[in-house]
Structure formats: C-alpha cells, structure tokens
C-alpha cells in the first residue's frame, strides 16, 4: 500500500481516521456553560475539523519529492525494537531494572546484526553503567521485584 499511495497519503489517511475518532469522542464532552461561552467541547471540535481539512489537502496534493519507501527488513527491525521496549515495560516489575536493561541491550544489538559475543560484552558493560548511574548515583526508584530490590 505504501508504494501505491506514498507515505504522505498514508499519513493523511491515518490522520483523517484519528480526527474522525477524536471528533466522535468529543461529542461526549459537556457543552459550554454560563461564564464559559466556548466550553470544553468546541475547541477540540475545531481541531478535529482542521486536521481533516489539512489531511485532505495533503491527500490531494502530496509532496512532489517524498522519502523512498523503507525496506521491509528495516521495518521488521524497527518493529522488533518497539517490541523490545514493550517487553521492557512488561518485565520491569517482574525481574527488575538491571535484568530488563540487559535483555533490551542484547535484543537490540542482535537485531542490528552485532556478533553474539560482542553483543553480550556490550550489553553487560552498558547494563552495569546504567545500573550505576540510575540506581546507585541518581537513586531512581524501581519497583521491588520477585528477585528483590538488588536487580
């Protein structure tokens, strides 16, 4: 679809969909009251309408020079990277900061095709650095985990 439409039109279509959802959600907001003629609903509705307008302009007149489509392998790497961050969010309360950081580093480096040994070495060193900076020096509070507060 990206090749047929171009990234400008894809983004414009996404924006129209988001603006539609936003406008429909704004109908549930209370209307203006005495002393507040505009009320909490009108401003979001103006914004929703403007986003649709600008998206339609982009849809009709996309840029002449658009960025080339991102290769599939790169998109997969980006998706893996996003999944690694999601994994970090899920694992942080379970195994703690140091272990999740190590896994994030290792996963990221392997996704970018670093050799396993080098990736392990980098991941261990960087985890130690981040642990010292955030946990020891900056005293950032991380939730207690099943392994206790140390990790």
């Amino acid at each position: 679809m990206r090749h047929v439409l171009g990234i400008d039109r894809v983004v414009a279509l996404i924006c129209i969909a988001v603006a539609g959802l936003y406008l429909s959600a704004s109908l549930g907001i209370a209307q203006g009251s005495f002393g507040d003629p505009l009320g909490p609903r009108a401003f979001p509705q103006i914004l929703g309408a403007l986003l649709i307008l600008f998206s339609i302009i982009t849809l009709v007149q996309p840029s002449a020079r658009q960025a080339p489509a991102t290769p599939l392998a790169t998109l997969v790497a980006i998706a893996i990277c996003a999944a690694l961050v999601l994994g970090f969010i899920l694992l942080l309360p379970v195994v703690g900061y140091a272990a999740t950081s190590f896994l994030l580093f290792l996963g990221f480096l392997l996704t970018l095709r670093e050799p396993l040994r080098l990736a392990l070495l980098y991941a261990a060193g960087l985890t130690l650095l981040f642990y010292v900076v955030f946990t020891v020096l900056l005293q950032t509070y991380f939730p207690p985990t099943m392994l206790g507060r140390i990790f």
């Binding site: 907001i29 507040d36 403007l50 600008f54 991102t70 999601l86």
Partner: protein, 514 residues
Amino acid sequence: MDTIAFLATGIATAFSGWNFVYVLIGAFVGTWIGMLPGLGPSTGIALLLPLTYGLDPTGGMIMLCGIYFGSMYGGSISSILLNTPGDVSSVITMLDGNPMARRGRGGAALFCAAVASFIGGSVGLVGLTFLAEPIARFALRFGPAEYFALMTFALIATATLMQGAAVKGLMAIVIGLMIATVGIDLQSGAARFTMNSPNLFDGISLIAVIIGLFGISEVFTNIQEIMARRWGKVETVGRLWMEPSEWKRCRFSFLRGSVIGFMVGVVPGAGGAVATLLSYAAERRSSRHPEEFGKGAIEGVAGPEAANNASVGGALIPLFTLGLPGSSATAILLGALMIFGIQPGPHLFTENPDLVWGIIGSLYVANVVLVILNIPFIGIFVRMLMMPGAPLNAIILLLAVTGAYSLNNNVFDIQVALVFGVIGFLLRSAQVPLAPLVLAVALGGGLEQSLRQALSLSDGDPAGLVPSGIAAVFLGLSALLVLLAAILPATRLMSPRNRALRRAAKKEKRPQTQ
C-alpha cells in the same frame, strides 16, 4: 539592583557550590550529544533531563542550559568531520565545513566554528541580559487575548517558517494541540479523551511526548541508517589553527552572523535553522569569492556557526519573559522549569531572580568553558565520534526508556513515549516537522485557556479577541503568514522557470503515451 549587579550575582551563583561542576558536566555531555549524528539540542536535553531530577532547580536548569549550549557547539563537529549534521541548525555548516575537512583543513574549520560559536554565543547572551527584563516588564500588560494572539503567532510562525510544506507544519500544530486537550479541563472540570484512565487525568506528559518524538523515533530512524550501512566515516582533523588570511576573511562574518542569529532567535519558531540559512545567504552576498561557497569557503562556517549560537540567547528571551518557547529545545526547557515547579513568564524575574540570573550567569561561564573545551579536547571528541552505531543507539534507547520511567516512576510514561516514538517515525517519514508539534503540546493548554478567558470577558463576542493593538498586530501577522504560505507555493508553481520545466516534462511524456 541594576542589570549588571544581577548579572554579577548570577555569575557568582554559577561558581558557587556544585553549580560550576554542573556547568562543566552540561557543557561536556552537551557537546558529546550534539556531535552524535542525528542528535541535536532537543534530543540531548530530553534524554538527559532525568539526570537533573535530583538536583535543586537552579543546579538542574544550569546543567540543562549547559547541555543546550554544548550541543549547539557539538553539532558543528559531526557536520564538518562526518558530513552528517547533529541537528537541522548544523546543516549549513556542513556545506563548507566538510569540503574543508576533505581538503585536510578540518582543524581550521573546527577552530573557526569554535571561535564563531563563542562570539555568537557572547552576543546572544549580552542581548538576553539587557533585553529580557524590559520585555518582561512590557509583558505584564498582556491579558488573555494578548496571550492568545501571541501564542497563535508563535505556533503559526513555527509551522510556516520551517522548511517544507506549510500545510504539514499546520498539521503538526493541530496534532500537538489535540494531544494537549487530553485530561481534565481546568475551567469546567470535564474529563476529555481520558478513556477513564487515571493516568490521563493530568494530561499526556510533555516530556514523555518529547522523549518519544525525539529519542525513540530517532533510534528508529537511525536503524535505517545502520541497516543501510550509511553510518558515517570520520574525516581527518589536520592542524587546529586558522591561517592569517582565513582570520581576515572571517572577521566580519563572525559579527554579521551573531547579529542575524540573535535577531532571528527572538522570533518564535524561527530558531537556529533559519538563522544559519539567512547568515549563509548574507555571507555569500557579501563575499568577494561567492564561487567558493559550497566548496570550502571558511566564511560559510564562520557566519552560520555564530548565528546558530547567537540564536540561543535570542530564543531564551521569549521563554523567560513570556513563558513562550520558540523552538523544540526551549519547549523542553519550559517542561523542565515546570517539573521544578517554576512558571516562566513576566513574573519570573521578580519572583525567582536567583534562578533566572543564575542561569544567565552560568551561560556566560558555559560559553567560556566550551571554547576552552572545544579547542584542546577536539581529539577526544573525534575519538568519541567513532563509536559504532548499534551500541550508541542502544544507549539512546535505554536512556529514553529510563528517562520516561523516571518522570513519575511509572511504566505508563514509557508506553506514552513508545507510542510517540512510532508516531514520530511516521511523521518524520512523511516530512511532517516535529518542532511545531512539540510547541503545540507545550502551549496548547495555555492557548485554549486564554481563548476561553478572553471570550468569557467579552460574553462570547469574538471582538473580545482583539481588545488592543498588541493582539491585533500578532493576529494580523499570523493571518499574513498563513496567506503567504498559501500564496508562495502557487507563485513558485507559476514562475517562468517552473512553467518551462512542466512544458519540458509534458514533451518527454508525449512520445511514451502515443
């Protein structure tokens, strides 16, 4: 106390206790962050913000401003040696700096950039010192309608003055304003777009949005570069000194660039990128050797670099005096001030003089520290620049994730940052500028409240939005900018050159279709 006495107190604050150490750390780390490919002041400040949470407001802001200033210096290093700018404002330096490096004059280009940055930074700071307080006093006259007009102007100027299609800038602003509407409405108490999640009652965190848009989406963008094996090659530095003829060629460029940079920096939305562009054009026009530009003319480094750093002092004026960030970097500084419980605006100079003069004083100190740091330590920075892409981006990613978490010690902010990382990547791919979006998130709440307050005061009469000349001027300028943005592309399309190009293209197509 007069301005000079306040400045002396500010400089004393910069040297007191740990503050000088924060200046040094900020300047060094800022230079390092600024020179890394793709990382500019905005990303640098956003990523390193968590390091300041444990500090007192003055110390924290001193360190952040040091990072801001340092990253402006650092941007030139990667532009000259890697042909990859750290930020949009360093793109122009690359045009002549990199050809100089390829001719073995990288050292002279770096030296020139450091001197220009120092001169530009100094001019910008002098302007900030003497103009900020009078502007703050003037801003005390502003009511809701004037603030609404000013914020509208700032946002429209950001959208239309940036490079690329204005409609995309306007789109970015609307998206930013939409993000700012999430949360409990301050005037009516109504919940808007919160999906009944308590995490959204206070709205979406500006800093989490910035970390996502600049930190995480930067990593996504860099993955493209690393996988395509386009991660840069460092040019050799050569001797770190300028020849007497080069000094002679640059002497007026430093001053011209500084003045242009400061004046452009004050205009909301214009920032370093526009300043460097205008300065480069001015240098080319006034040069005796315009044909050398783009091939290694040293004035092409001196003017834009001075303009870039002078714009910092200019950009801090609307931030401190009106609470109005003019660029994404100053929007992050606004967020940082709010985290420290400080509301910038006309009262900042009277209510928090120690803080604001401490910051200004520390910027003077940082400017001197940076020129000392940049010249003898350039070899160390070049070695740091050679860091491979994969581990570097792994560091950026974990800094972003940890930074988002430590905002409220809550994983929800990491989710927000991730969502905005994906949005940022999509928008970057479509060349939608991110700076107007960030500014709109930062200003959205204030803009809507000012609009509603102004209409309340006039019982809903739209004429209440223009109660004074100030409001009329800003709204008029905003309308003019939108009009120009709509008309200019059409006139360019109708220019004789473009018409000729279209005719040629049609001729080329005709045989294929027959």
